[in-house]
Subunit: 343 residues, 2 copies
């Protein structure tokens, strides 16, 4: 399989390393991946015979400007070159998420699908804004669109909805889908510190961003829930359909009160079908030990589906970090290689 | 898709009903299932245009002898007829499990695969005894073998290993895979009754068999673990490789002692890779609330995988009963229809 990678940040780099580490194992499954292109915001690299993954990974570990890579670096390389060369089967789209426009990912994905190229992406923007449209383009062009990385990375929440619950109808979804907020809450519980201290600790550990609003205000959870709902329940919801509150108001007293009741506070995304309606929310909730997501602590994630014929299904885990996110991209690549039709 | 069903017990009947109930929904996914044959130990039914599912389900709900069904019943119908007619794409094999010989399922599955017919089965015997052989026959004949129902029914334990963990290596598996024993233990915990009383209650409720040895002695868990290990970890283990103990020795005192330590007793199947070795056991174990399977109570099931690149993954749930088992058969049918290559 010939692939191009757009976006060479943490996950992109981790993917290059993972593809190299897993090369032999993948070959035993009949999957021989040639990485022909890597494109970043500063140009890219093209090697029609496949970029040397180990060598290139070493290079990008030290140097951010991929276009000066001696074997095929090119400051003018563009997505248009990649498409017009017609020598790839799949595009891996890992540019940063823009939840308002979806760009530049949305254009990259659209162009690739329209040109009969499979796409696997970890970019939430295009998926939350335009999944249905992209799915139809993929269908019309006989190619696949893998989005498993967008809703919890290694947590197979999308896979579960497609494959593990195939043939059943999803009636509701509940998820703890944001590791950062879950980690902050656990810090407050365990260390008895207040919200600001816990946030600062999480930032110092590199778990929370310098501008943490996307996570702590509930946007990240809301977007992941929207993707699950639109993709798995056939909806076309947008952010304005979700009642969103984050964890910024949480106090030690809230934590203490929950604890004395044998409960834990969790930021829970919910989507519940109620006749024709679908109610969606992201709310801090007290749950007790009988709740299937009670054990989802720290950076862990979890999701629970209630279905008509396959009962309840709770999935917990999936490592966090760039390596695990890269592994979730590889998972989609393999499932598409194994013939699975997501669209 | 043209299918034949062999085995018309509880799950077989539930499947016929489910296929009828889901008919319209499946058609929207491009899956039009014609049930051409139903074969039981007393002959069968053949309708080249597809058996009327609603009508036939009503018939088999009242009458065990399918061969007297007025529209196509035939006391002499055999698997050989089904194979030689060459008019099906898939065989659903649901005859009772024989863990020593795998028959008659093993012959049915072998014949079908050799004739280029996909097979989906809920029959553990052939899978635990001959998965590798069957997989190779399927591969050689360009068809698929779906076995998702064999390791916990609705619990997508096999799917998870194939699809949700694609590209990662499974390092260990832990599972609560037998609902009957888990239910008996919970009864003892909640009602303060002894083992024999709890077993009797479970039998009266139809949850435990009249001869409960297969469940309570740990054989069922061991066989499910063997299937997971052989299918997902590429092993060729047999029952003699598993250290098996059941729940028959459990006392109120054990339950009480665990409870005072804040723990629960669970019958846990384990497979842990240790270098070249793979240690397998089915043992009653005390686990505390930090264990991912702590919340798996009653008839619920759960499995936890530890992997190299996708972290830990715990899957809990999946309804029990014939309807849920039938839904897990349908899940495999759909995933094969969607192009996924299990073998």
């Amino acid at each position: 399989m010939n692939i191009a990678l757009i976006g060479c940040g943490g996950v992109g780099k981790a993917l290059i390393q993972l593809l190299q580490e897993k090369e032999k194992q993948l070959m035993t499954q009949g999957l021989n991946i040639a990485l022909k292109y890597v494109l970043s915001s500063k140009g890219g690299v093209y090697n029609p015979n496949g970029i040397d993954k180990a060598d290139f990974f070493e290079f990008v570990s030290l140097e951010r400007n991929v276009s000066i890579y001696p074997k095929g670096g090119n400051p003018n390389l563009s997505i248009e070159d990649i498409i017009s060369n017609k020598d790839i089967d799949m595009l891996i789209e890992l540019t940063p998420t823009n939840k308002d426009t979806g760009e530049p990912g949305l254009s990259h994905i659209t162009q690739a699908l329209e040109s009969g190229i499979h796409v696997v992406t970890g970019n939430k923007g295009p998926v939350v804004l335009a999944y249905k449209k992209l799915k139809n383009i993929a269908k019309d062009n006989g190619v696949q669109l893998g989005i498993g990385c967008t809703t919890g990375g290694a947590l197979p929440s999308i896979n579960a909805g497609f494959m593990d619950l195939a043939g059943s109808e999803i009636l509701s979804i509940e998820g703890i889908l944001n590791g950062t907020t879950n980690f902050i809450i656990q810090l407050m519980e365990e260390k008895g510190i207040n919200y600001n201290e816990a946030l600062k600790t999480a930032q110092d550990l590199g778990i929370a961003e310098r501008d943490p609003s996307y996570d702590i205000e509930g946007w990240d959870t809301a977007i992941k829930m929207l993707i699950l709902v639109n993709v798995l329940m056939g909806e076309e919801k947008t952010l304005k359909d979700v009642k969103i509150s984050g964890i910024t108001g949480i106090t030690q007293k809230d934590i203490f009160n929950a604890k004395t009741r044998g409960r834990k506070l969790k930021l829970i995304g919910k989507a519940v079908r109620d006749g024709e309606k679908l109610d969606m929310s992201v709310v801090l909730e007290e749950i007790d030990s009988s709740h299937p997501l009670y054990g989802v602590d720290g950076k862990n994630k979890g999701v629970r589906y209630v279905t008509d014929t396959l009962g309840d299904l709770t999935i917990i885990g999936g490592a966090s970090g760039t390596k695990a996110a890269a592994a979730s991209i590889l998972r989609d690549i393999i499932n598409i290689h194994k013939g699975y039709k997501f669209v």
